[in-house]
């Protein structure tokens, strides 16, 4: 294939694709609005500064130099519905032994994940293969499961969803009334995020205009409508269950949030209440106590965790890590994946890609697993925590599940490398042990 042939192929593939004729007018209007907001913020900030200086002159503060600077920031202002700042705990002095251990963990050597099949197998309830092809699958309605371990959306077939029961047998989802969810003609992946409830008994699936929750122990489903004015058609790519299984967080999976309201929805599974929330569900996760943390990246390199109680922003913590971290998985500590390479073109960044573990309370980096062969299309998907120390993630486009003990640095795999291409996988991580 030569250069001209490639050029022809690419240009043919986009055919006569045309943009919305109103795109220019819309961009101009948005720019005008943003410009006005920025000018207003500058004026308001200047006014606040004047008020602060006046107050300081009237009541000069007494400096106490014994208090160390904290990385944690109590919230004084918050967007939209946020309010009520939290108190800021003082960071405790780390003991030397802990610090040494942490440094050792942070300095874990890079792992080349092309060697994943060399890792020892970790014993879990999963079978070695998560490939449902050539496996008998009975209809879920006729043969429901006690609890699910995993759900697979078969490649290229949106409504062909297979459920792996805790008896290690596969079922095919045959719940009536389910529809594919579209985003301007594109089909939304049905098993994105963490759609299986922690007890493995329910599965949340994005549907046009809302969400369906399938009871995997019966095959029956309930539908939760999201108010029509608030529903982007791509709703539901990010779906997370609260640890007690009573709430579902869901939201649009869009990176370009400035053009749309930055919010998701919280669904109370018992009452059916649907409440808008101010965080981006694709970058948020429930903590064990039911609060929500959201990861926020800024172009300036700042990376913060915002914590919410319900829809109230209660604190912000600046993380001791650089930009480009995504996809938090939270227990008492928080794991994120980072992919710097591929864009910067600079040397010396190869070992910055991988998985980080941070303390969401203090922002401190606790451990890092640098990964070589960390390609964007194979970006490690974080499935969750198997226990307090062990994170489950996938490499090679979800074809292999890997466990990393961030305390000991040990790596192991949960499955054999799959030969099935292009499938989507969800796990009920709490059910795997």
């Amino acid at each position: 294939m030569n250069h001209d042939q490639l050029r022809t192929l690419l240009q043919r593939s986009v055919g006569d694709l045309r943009a919305d004729p109103a795109v220019g007018e819309r961009a101009w209007r948005t720019a005008v609005q943003q410009d006005r907001r920025q000018r207003f913020a500058i004026v308001a900030g200047a006014a606040a500064g004047v008020a602060l200086v006046t107050a300081l002159i009237a009541n000069p503060p007494t400096l106490d130099r014994s208090v160390p600077p904290a990385t944690q920031t109590a919230v004084s202002t918050a967007p939209e519905t946020a309010s009520t700042p939290a108190t800021t705990p003082s960071p405790s002095e780390p003991d030397p032994e802990t610090l040494t251990e942490r440094l050792r963990r942070i300095n874990q050597p890079p792992w080349d994940n092309v060697d994943v099949d060399q890792l020892p197998m970790l014993d879990t309830r999963l079978p070695p293969s998560l490939d449902p092809r050539n496996q008998t699958a009975s209809a879920l309605s006729e043969d429901p499961v006690e609890a699910a371990l995993a759900v697979v959306q078969m490649p290229g077939r949106v409504l062909d969803i297979r459920v792996l029961g805790d008896d290690r047998r596969w079922r095919q989802l045959d719940t009536p009334g389910l529809e594919p969810s579209f985003s301007d003609g594109s089909v939304v992946s049905l098993v994105g995020g963490s759609p299986i409830s922690p007890d493995g008994r329910q599965l949340a699936l994005p549907q046009p205009g809302g969400l369906a929750v399938v009871d995997l122990t019966s095959g029956l489903s309930r539908r939760f409508d999201i108010p029509a004015n608030d529903v982007p058609p791509w709703v539901g790519r990010a779906t997370h269950w609260s640890p007690d299984g009573t709430q579902i967080m869901t939201g649009p999976a869009t990176f370009y949030t400035s053009l749309r309201p930055r919010h998701g929805w919280l669904i109370d599974v018992s009452s059916g209440d649907v409440q808008p929330v101010p965080y981006d569900a694709t970058q948020a996760a429930f903590t064990p106590d039911g609060t929500v943390v959201e990861l926020r990246n800024w172009d300036c390199g700042l990376c913060q965790v915002w914590r919410y109680q319900g829809d109230r922003l209660t604190e912000r913590v600046t993380l001791d890590v650089e930009l480009y971290v995504v996809a938090p998985a939270v227990r008492d500590v928080m794991a994120v994946s980072r992919a710097v390479r591929g864009w910067s073109g600079s040397k010396g960044v190869e070992d910055q890609d991988g998985i980080l573990v941070v303390d969401p309370e203090s922002g401190e980096l606790l451990a890092e697993l640098p990964m070589r062969a960390f390609h964007w299309a194979e970006n490690a998907k974080l499935f969750g925590w198997l226990d307090d120390e062990t994170l489950v993630f996938s490499v090679h486009q979800q074809r292999v599940l890997v466990a990393w003990n961030y305390q000991s640095g040990e790596l192991s795999r949960l499955t054999d490398p799959a030969t099935m291409p292009n499938f989507s996988l969800a796990l009920a991580v709490p059910q795997l042990r």
Binding site: M1, R12, V23, A31, V188, R237, F255, N379
Partner: protein, 170 residues
């Protein structure tokens, strides 16, 4: 500046001339029509906010930098590859569905930077020097990434060879 009707008119006229080719490039970068439209819209807003300075210089170069930088940021931020979408996505692309699907699957095998270089060089027809400027990398990097991309496409996307007719001659 943004309050001026004349500025708005010149901006929308520029957009009208550039929007379709920009959307095609953006679609090839992202592989997703909705993402492509989001990305284009976001980039146009950034251009609009700087239109006073850009209109008499080179808005094309600026928006190209924004789009390529943001598209790669998006790939990084992506939690997963919604692979089930590919077949349906291409129905929206405007090209022949089978052809477009094969091309998208092939592009998905490239790194973000390789994909960007390929689109700049072969869709936007930029020279190596222009592509390097758009990406903020050296000309040598553009050359090496182009070669690596072509090598990877030949090795890992043999179906493209079929489309070019080369596969029949093997």
């Amino acid at each position: 500046m943004l309050d001026s009707d004349e500025a708005r008119d010149s901006f929308t006229a520029w957009v009208a001339a550039r929007r379709d080719p920009l959307l095609r490039s953006t679609y090839l970068l992202t592989g997703d029509r909705q993402r492509a439209e989001d990305l284009l819209q976001e980039a146009l807003v950034k251009v609009a906010r700087r239109w006073g300075k850009l209109r008499d210089t080179n808005p094309d170069a600026y928006i190209r930098k924004v789009i390529y930088h943001d598209s790669i940021s998006w790939w990084r931020s992506r939690r997963e590859v919604p692979v089930a979408e590919v077949r349906d996505l291409v129905q929206q692309a405007g090209g022949a569905p089978e052809h477009a699907m094969l091309v998208q699957q092939a592009l998905a095998r490239l790194t973000a930077k390789q994909r960007a270089v390929v689109v700049l060089r072969y869709v936007e027809d930029l020279t190596e020097v222009e592509a390097a400027a758009a990406l903020g990398v050296s000309v040598g990097t553009v050359k090496s990434q182009t070669a690596a991309a072509l090598r990877r496409l030949r090795e890992q996307a043999p179906e493209l060879m079929e489309l070019t007719g080369e596969g029949d001659t093997r």
